[in-house]
């Protein structure tokens, strides 16, 4: 990857993080109808960072918009905002965030942004002007007072150094692949300048050519004078992105390390005496540069703890997902190799106690390794859920509906794959709910419902799956409308009375289906639900819907937790080996002659404990040649899953194995006539590849 590419990646990744953060702040702020000073600062900082980074990348349009928002927030930071000004401020910032997100997506795709939102920029400028004007005379005066300030600071810095104000050495080390270190350092300086009386940086000129390199090698150091508590510094520095560690240490004002511009010059005894008498005792020039005063020691301790706190908090690193995938694969291979060693034929059937003990320990360690690796990839589902808040907000505004989004079980952790694959389907389902499902305020009130609609997003795990439910209290699916549309498209020929509700509801999954009259920006293109279902199926999941006319719609997505370790029963049919997850196996059966009979429709059935189950011959299902003809020559297993409950007939059972499940390559679709009923494959200790049965999808709909 070229340096340019990784710079771009860094730029995109960071901005996306910042923008996500921003969305959260804005959403809660909008509800509270204003932002706290901390939140205002945060917004300002984010815009500032985006402006700086975008300028560096020469993405001028993005930088301009960020600048415009930054200016407005600089104003708000100094002078606050009136309550009637907030709604439009929120609105504009949301629009800016959307713009930035769109541009980030474009950059990710093609390497460059191409949008510009001049309209929004001028609106922001107008807003700023309005806000400044409404400050009245005070505004004009302070606007003027503002400009002399920097000069005053500079003047003070050169002319007079107040030795009573404590000095600190702030040092920041950035992550190895941070890039743009000089810009980041500038950002740090900006962030800290508000609480410093004077400051000087090393390197002094951050816009100089070699600044990046210097900072990578030596870190960025800022010597400051500040009356603030070092904790303030810690708070600010904790927000610095890509900061590996930072430290804040008190330092003697006369220390030669400090750049001359703010250093206390070595002084005659008289001044030293004066300095010593101050409570801060920071400039104890007379006392051999030591730190004798109690107050000073206290300050030093505080700064130290602030420093170590700063070090402790930088505990996250971002990892390329490909590396995690490789790691997971490798762990899987280790599990298989372990199996090959432990069940090695060379050992025969003799008992080796020492070996067994060691083997058990190996087994336990590997299991633990695997748990850890899998947990690395697990993320709380809130990352997906929170995105939905923004969608509901935007769409509610767009369709002029009042909707509340309730999130339950956000902390449920799922594999990153699942998070990535859930995002689009969830978005589409929620859009449908807002657009089609929830009625207008008037219609709801007329129907005796509260004017505010509610959508509930819930996630929880069963042992092996993650269940995500999206329910709304809208109107549910409209059977008549759907049926009419289906007839219109020629998809239905049976008379209405013969079609069950379930069948009608399933029609929305047909490609190209949509009952929406107008194609809106969000839905109605009619490509929706079938793509949604397919996306979910691709990660091994399933989507089911339940509609209660007039009351609402419940959509349930079920996704298998991870595809890795499966406990399964291995069985063979002809020359092919299969594994069926033990969780789905009720019992194994050795049929006697006559146990299996044929029902009037020609299906094979068996009676087990008073219940009748259909018998599925694996050989027939998958077209495999086998010598086993009569059930009593083979073996059976009673399988039970979410949707299915039946028995399978095969040649013979090979035992229970713990296997590493892998997905089957896509290309196999072109190589075989039947893939349905297989959810993946597993490599066994002997190197053979076995197919994993997908009990839910094994038989065709409605039984055999």
């Amino acid at each position: 990857m070229s340096a340019d590419d990784s710079m771009l990646d860094t730029y995109i990744y960071e901005n996306q993080q910042l923008l996500e953060n921003l969305d959260d702040i804005l959403l809660s702020g909008e509800e509270a109808k204003s932002l706290t000073p901390d939140q205002i600062n945060e917004v300002f900082r984010v815009m500032h960072t985006i402006k700086g980074a975008s300028s560096m990348m020469e993405f001028e349009d993005i930088a301009k918009l960020a600048h415009a928002v930054e200016d407005v927030f600089a104003q708000i930071r100094e002078f606050g905002a009136k309550s009637e000004e907030w709604p439009s401020v929120f609105d504009m910032v949301f629009r800016a965030v959307s713009f930035f997100n769109d541009e980030m997506a474009k950059i990710q795709e093609s390497g460059k942004p191409d949008g510009t939102d001049e309209a929004l920029i001028s609106e922001l400028h107008e807003q700023l002007a309005k806000m400044k004007a409404s400050q009245g005379g005070e505004g004009a005066a302070s606007a003027q007072a503002e400009s002399p300030k920097p000069v005053a600071v500079a003047a003070a810095a050169k002319a007079k150094i107040d030795p009573s104000i404590p000095y600190y050495k702030v040092k920041v080390l950035f992550e190895e692949n941070a890039q743009m270190e000089a810009v980041r350092s500038l950002g740090v300086e900006e962030d800290l300048k508000g609480i410093c009386v004077s400051r000087a940086s090393v390197p002094p000129d951050l816009e100089e050519q070699g600044a990046d390199k210097y900072i990578v090698e030596n870190g960025f150091t800022l010597y400051v004078q500040s009356r603030e508590n070092p904790d303030e510094f810690t708070n600010i520095l904790n927000h610095t992105m890509f900061c590996k560690k930072f430290s804040i240490l008190p330092i003697d004002g006369t220390d030669e390390e400090i750049p001359e511009s703010i250093r206390i010059p070595a002084e005659p005894a008289a001044e030293a005496a004066r300095a010593e008498s101050t409570p801060y005792g920071g400039a104890s020039a007379g006392a051999s540069g030591g730190r004798p005063s109690a107050a000073d020691a206290g300050g030093a301790k505080k700064a130290m703890s602030a420093a170590s706190e700063g070090l402790a908090k930088q505990n996250f690193i971002s990892v390329n997902v490909n590396k995690l995938d490789s790691l997971l694969d490798m762990v899987g291979e280790i599990v298989t190799a372990q199996s090959m060693v432990i069940s090695n034929a060379d050992f025969g059937s003799e008992r080796h106690d020492n070996f067994d003990a060691a083997a058990k320990q190996l087994h336990d360690l590997i299991n633990e390794l695997q748990d850890i690796v899998m947990s690395i990839r697990m993320l709380p589902i809130s990352t997906v859920f929170q995105k939905m808040r923004r969608i509901v907000r935007d769409m509610s505004k767009k369709f002029d509906k009042d909707i509340e989004l309730v999130l339950v079980g956000e902390e449920t952790e799922v594999d990153k794959n699942v998070i990535d694959s859930l995002s689009d389907p969830l978005m589409h389902i929620i859009r449908n709910s807002v657009d089609h499902g929830i009625e207008s305020r008037e219609a709801r009130v007329a129907a005796g419902k509260p004017a505010k609609g509610r959508i509930t997003l819930e996630a929880h795990t069963t042992g092996s799956d993650v269940i995500v439910t999206i329910s709304d209290d809208g109107a549910g699916l409209n059977r008549d409308k759907i049926l009419a549309k289906a007839r219109e498209k020629g998809l239905v020929t049976k008379p209405d009375s013969e079609i069950t509700d379930k069948e009608v509801y399933n029609m929305i999954f047909l490609p190209g289906f949509s009952t929406k009259e107008k194609v809106t920006e969000y839905s109605g293109r009619g490509v929706g639900m079938d793509v949604v279902r397919r996306n979910i199926n691709q990660i091994g999941g399933s989507l089911s819907i339940e509609s209660i006319p007039g009351k609402g719609l419940i959509q349930t997505i079920r996704i298998p937790l991870t595809l890795t370790i499966v406990d399964g029963m291995k069985f063979e049919v002809g020359n092919i080996s299969f594994i069926v997850p033990t969780a789905s196996v009720e019992t194994a059966i050795q049929p006697e002659p006559g146990d299996v009979f044929v029902d009037p429709e020609g299906n094979e059935m068996i009676m087990l404990l008073g219940q009748c189950y259909s018998v599925v011959r694996i050989s027939k299902l998958f077209n495999i040649e086998t010598e086993i003809e009569k059930p009593e020559d083979g073996m059976m297993m009673h399988l039970r899953s979410e949707e299915n409950n039946f028995c399978i007939l095969f040649d013979h059972l090979d035992g229970e194995y713990q296997v590493v499940a892998k997905t089957l390559p896509d290309y196999l679709e072109k190589c075989t006539n039947r893939m349905k009923g297989i959810s993946g494959c597993a490599v066994l200790g002997d190197g053979s590849i076995n197919l994993i049965l997908d009990v839910n999808n094994l038989t065709d709909d409605e039984g055999e």
């Binding site: 694969d329 490798m330 899987g332 291979e333 020359n575 092919i576 080996s577 998958f622 077209n623 495999i624 892998k662 997905t663 089957l664 390559p665 896509d666 290309y667 196999l668 679709e669 072109k670 190589c671 075989t672 006539n673 039947r674 494959c681 490599v683 190197g687 053979s688 590849i689 076995n690 197919l691």
Partner: protein, 165 residues
């Protein structure tokens, strides 16, 4: 001279030459990931005749096809020189069983020409070799791997996928 000659110019293109049913064919080396001796192949159910099954290469499951079938030849027994050439096309890794692997040679662009008699797959009637290479007075066919593996979407690829025998 458009498709194979992506790097048109004096350099020419490197090909891996393999032998199937006594005839030599060239495969663009850029598509070839690795060559392995015949591994143990695990069969898959309802396999189409050209698919032998799947193999495990360092943790990745790779389908294996027998190019003899695609070329309309009878299946043959494998011997100690039979190999699997693993190609990587359109994001898919596929193993191709060949009788022999011969060598790698660079063919100058001017010696790569359109094939006068187009070799057509007996399986799906698709053209699997549209170019030939002139080498030392002999002519060798260049295989269009994406056509052989049916990885290029063509107008009829949808139905070909279903009706393939």
């Amino acid at each position: 001279m458009a498709t194979i000659n992506k790097k048109a110019g004096r350099e020419g293109i490197k090909f891996l030459f393999i032998s199937v049913g006594g005839i030599e064919y060239g495969i663009d080396i850029k598509l070839v990931q690795e060559i392995i001796v015949m591994p143990a192949i695990s069969p898959i159910p309802s396999a189409k005749p050209f698919c032998k099954g799947v193999i495990n290469i360092r943790g990745t499951i790779v389908p294996v096809i027998d190019i003899r079938i695609k070329l309309g030849l009878d299946a043959a027994d494998y011997d100690d020189q039979t190999c699997v050439v693993v190609v990587y096309i359109s994001g898919q890794r596929v193993g191709v069983v060949v009788d022999r692997v011969k060598d790698v040679a660079e063919i100058p662009s001017e010696d790569i020409l359109d094939s006068p008699a187009r070799a057509v797959s007996s399986v799906n009637k698709r053209c699997i070799s549209s170019k030939i290479a002139k080498m030392n007075g002999k002519v060798k066919q260049i295989i269009d791997m994406d056509q052989v593996l049916d990885l290029v979407p063509t107008a009829d690829s949808e139905e070909a996928g279903h009706k393939d025998e």
